[in-house]
Symmetry: C2
Subunit: 203 residues, 2 copies
């Protein structure tokens, strides 16, 4: 049985990133503050447990082009080969299916990560990811890809790390397209820097 | 020392009420589903504890006119005396300061509740509420009054009952005016129907 999940850090007011996202500030204005639970010098035992769950190995990943790259134009507009911003050994160690409008050969990285570029939409990327191993797939982000997964009713579980941060504006995780999903709370834990909630998606 | 708090049930996507609020459907389309944790036939022990906290006695309350009434026009437009929709013995048993644009004498109800009508704004209503007893004040709602309390930096604590419900659109609890507040998670518990989170507001 395949398992399709997402695990995301959001602000209490529902943003995955603040306003004014740039290459230097990919989480937007104020967005880094949400991730204090993960990057604190001494993580609490609770925060560490949820971070380990996020980092556990999966069979495959689906992500948007901005999370890979970003690749904003055709590949020919880049000098040399653009291999994303995850470094030579990305932390995935599995196939990663990247949604993009521009075709490209797969890029094999060190440590078992191969980026595959999918130009025929979210459903096609998810189907390819589910065909790997046992089909344990993480929809890694960004916001648009997670919204597509929710809108398509394809998530089995959703883990949210709700940071006690108010960003005011920015990129929302939920919008009217995502509301058809029923959710049930399976678990919740907290540290001063996050409320971790594990939802089952009921279709 | 005074204590000013709010305790609200919201959807996971941040709405206090769904779209199309009417007198017959004050929580808007889909909004009632958020309150399942409170109105289930058999409440869980966790849900019951948070409900009891919401219902505990306070020295005074601040609420918006729609939560009292609603009083949408001058009082003279009503036949007879309009005494709100809480019945003859409202569940407050204390002074309730109602924000409105239309002056009215206080209305004394059975059981110790007196509705006072305040026409000079949120700060004035809060000051009057804080002068009662020890100043243990609940900002009861609706969304606009809670947003004013957050925007003014006047909340000491915020308890959110985050229902695993996505409404898509409706009346938001947070907006850009509320983002100046720092929050810290003091406690979190869950049932299948809600994640209960207790925040301290850091100014």
């Amino acid at each position: 049985m395949t398992l399709t999940t997402a695990q995301l850090t959001i602000s209490l007011d529902g943003f995955l990133a603040g306003p004014d996202q740039t290459l230097d500030q990919p989480l937007g204005l104020g967005g880094e503050a949400m991730h204090g639970w993960m990057f604190a010098d001494e993580r609490t035992e609770v925060d560490e447990r949820w971070r380990e769950h996020l980092a556990r190995p999966r069979d495959a990943y689906v992500m948007g082009r901005n999370m890979f790259g970003p690749v904003r134009g055709p590949w020919s507009s880049y000098d040399g080969e653009w291999r994303g911003w995850w470094g030579e050994e990305p932390p995935y160690h599995a196939p990663v299916f990247v949604l993009t409008h521009h075709e490209h050969e797969p890029i094999e990285m060190a440590g078992g990560t191969t980026f595959h570029f999918v130009t025929d939409g979210f459903d096609a990327a998810l189907a390819r990811a589910r065909s790997v191993g046992n089909g344990d797939v993480l929809v890694a982000g960004g916001a648009s890809v997670v919204r597509q997964a929710l809108a398509a009713g394809e998530l089995d579980e959703l883990r949210l790390e709700i940071a006690p941060v108010l960003l005011g504006t920015g990129e929302r995780i939920f919008d009217p397209t995502t509301m058809a999903n029923g959710l049930e709370v399976l678990a919740a834990e907290h540290s001063p820097l996050a409320t971790h909630v594990h939802y089952r998606v009921v279709r």
